[in-house]
């Protein structure tokens, strides 16, 4: 048992914290609003080899373990960086795991920062149901024809390659029969509507109107993608929870500073015991969230049921704590905490949106109960 970071991870953490602390400027964030990311920061992260930490050596990286994800995403969250590293993790994992040699080349390029990725899985009616896929892929000649609609595809308009899920057999909510396809940017028949997200970054609605693909676009075995999708999303859930943890740390640091400096009725408001105790509650819950993230990162390689129990436990707990921290941080700041000019705003929004991706706290509480009963 050991809760110390290895020397390598400690170096990665230090380097990332230093770099992002300088790079994520108001100007960089402003620039990212129209395109969903700052090309400079993306390049900077590539230069540091950050993406490599998300993949194993086999996959072209130098990490890939749960605690590697934790280190990287906690720092992205702490700085409030909007670059689509989570999409690289999610889509990259699928390609790395299922792809043939040609396809895997994309992961290597992504790790180098040369290409961007996205995973188009969610649909207008799928909400958080991972197995609900209405988009259909039908064989046509040697290849495939895809028809359907994908919703809130983060980084969808910016990605050079999109991993798209489609049903090749089975009923609309069957686990069997889901296949993955790799679509390069600009594939004919794709209609993309790009828009900004509340938490920063961009997403897209994607209409696939009879998109024809060659046989080589299929990623992995036909109809067998569900397991890989669930595994990739477990990793992405760990990552987004670590991200939230970092954002909470910043929110609490801002709040702590504010309590110490802001004066009202003649003394720093941090001298008011009610606020002290609420600040203490925040800290206690953030420690809970940290431990939950550790639990999930430490069980990503466990058997499926154990892993998924930790997925739901962690997403539930971190979702609850993220809401508490965002709301309490704003409340303890008062009016200033409501304003866009003050740095807390983007962290509060980022934390507010945690619940909306990969399932909210209530969804995962119910899922935890079902997994435990199984």
């Amino acid at each position: 048992m050991n809760f110390q970071l290895t020397e390598e991870r400690q170096m990665l953490q230090d380097g990332l914290r230093r770099y992002l602390g300088e790079a994520v400027t108001p100007q960089a964030l402003e620039a990212a609003q129209t395109t969903g990311m700052s090309p400079e920061i993306w390049a900077g992260l590539s230069e540091m080899g950050v993406a490599g930490a998300l993949f194993t050596e086999d996959q072209g990286g130098f990490g890939g373990a749960g605690f590697d994800l934790m280190v990287v995403f906690e720092e992205l969250g702490r700085a409030g960086a909007v670059e689509p590293m989570l999409e690289l993790l999610l889509a990259g994992r699928l390609v790395a795991e299922l792809g043939d040699e040609t396809q895997q080349e994309i992961v290597a390029q992504a790790v180098e920062g040369a290409v961007q990725l996205a995973f188009a899985h969610g649909e207008p009616a799928s909400r958080f149901d991972l197995e609900r896929v209405e988009t259909r892929a039908e064989r046509s000649g040697d290849g495939w024809t895809l028809t359907g609609r994908k919703s809130v595809v983060v980084n969808g308009a910016q990605a050079d390659h999109i991993v798209v899920s489609a049903r090749t057999s089975g009923d609309v909510a069957d686990r069997d029969g889901i296949s993955l396809f790799l679509l390069p940017k600009g594939t004919a028949g794709i209609e993309i509507r790009d828009y900004p997200l509340s938490q920063g970054g961009h997403a897209a609605e994607i209409v696939l109107d009879g998109v024809t693909l060659p046989a080589g676009a299929l990623l992995g075995a036909e109809g067998q993608a569900f397991e890989a999708i669930e595994t990739a999303q477990a990793r992405a859930t760990a990552a987004i929870c670590a991200d939230a943890l970092g954002a909470m740390e910043t929110a609490r640091a801002l709040t702590g500073d504010y309590l110490k400096t802001r004066k009202q009725f003649g003394q720093p408001i941090g001298k008011f015991q009610a606020l002290q105790h609420r600040a203490a509650d925040m800290l206690i819950e953030i420690e809970q969230a940290r431990s939950a993230v550790i639990n999930l990162c430490g069980h990503l390689e466990a058997d499926r049921d154990t892993r998924e129990i930790h997925v739901s436990a962690t997403k539930h707990l971190v979702g609850k704590v993220a809401r508490l921290v965002a709301e309490e941080a704003v409340q303890m700041h008062g009016g200033i905490g409501m304003t866009e000019e003050y740095d807390l705003a983007r962290f509060a929004r980022r934390l507010s949106m945690l619940d909306q991706r990969f399932g909210d706290a209530t969804f995962h509480l119910g899922r935890f109960v079902r997994l435990r009963a199984a």
Binding site: P124, V152, V330
Partner: protein, 398 residues
Amino acid sequence: MDLNFTEEQKAFRAELRSFLEERLPERLSEKVRLGQRLTKQDYEEWHAILNEKGWLAGNWPKEHGGAGWNAVERHIFEEETTAAHAPRIVPFGLAMLGPVLQKFGSKEQQDYWLPRILNGDDWWCQGYSEPGAGSDLASVKTTAVRDGDHYVVNGQKTWTTLGQYANMIFCLVRTSKEGKPQEGISFLLVDMNDPGITVRPIVLLDGEPEVNEVFFDNVRVPVENLVGEENKGWTYAKYLLTHERTNIAGVGFANAGLANLKRIARLEQSGGRPLIEDPLFAAKIAEVEISLMAMATTNLRVVSAAAAGQAPGAESSMLKVKGTVIRQEINALTKQAVGPWAMPFVSEALEAGSNEGPVGPSYAMSATPHYLNNRKLSIYGGSNEVQKTIIAKAILEL
């Protein structure tokens, strides 16, 4: 004890309903229902419709052109207008300045300003808060120095809601530094078009410029714009703040929000079933509904006592806290209900008739902005922390 409304009150409610059916423009109620932006003209249009009927100023006495309603009648008005998705009545002239002028203004001020408020000739905003003062209102730093027939005003106000629409602002200004902080404050009416005034919008969490900073640089205000006596402004300000506030609990908003939440939860699907059939999500809705059912009755208890002439005490603070917490919870559940659709932020879609439509169902587009914006409910109007201190001191005599 009797939980039923009287026959007269029921008749009033019926009259209100048919009025709203006839006269509330669907264009406006649709905007309110979808949470789209209301323009200045939208508010003015609705004010004019109500004013024509004599219902714009529910709490004003009839001699000043108000409806002269008691607390129960005003409550019924709130219930029905929110249920019908009518625009809210902009409170600054009607609910705030009006009563102060009626109580403390000169005959000339009343004759000049009150009709202008009713007719929509002026759009008022409130100049109370200052940067760094928060809930400590008495620490006013903006100064007004007498110079002949004018006051010369210098300083800064903040959190001025809808100041961008206003042509007039009522301000607390410091006219004396003697004595306690409360003693040297005056209540001044200032023309926003006067030279030396600058308005700077403050963008809030939801991306909207709802509030403003207002800067005063040697603004010359005629002395006849002083309300009441010099240095007595704190009395008038407190009257305004503690003046029986209708709708502090926001029951109407909460009911409308809950109905909207349930509608969404019936439309959204989770695990192949309507979200509202998910036992845990249904329980969350039920918890807030049960809480609201009780709070609505507390509100009626206070309203009913107020109509009988009793001044509400710490109950107002209790309603403020519970009412805002309930509304915020409804907002949070609505954001939760729309699932991933809460993430897209397409500002243009909040503009009715924009080319840029919402991403996903139209009911989803305002969920996140409303959730974020309403975090203010527990901060402004005396933060919930301030209210709790008032409750503890008043009832526990601590």
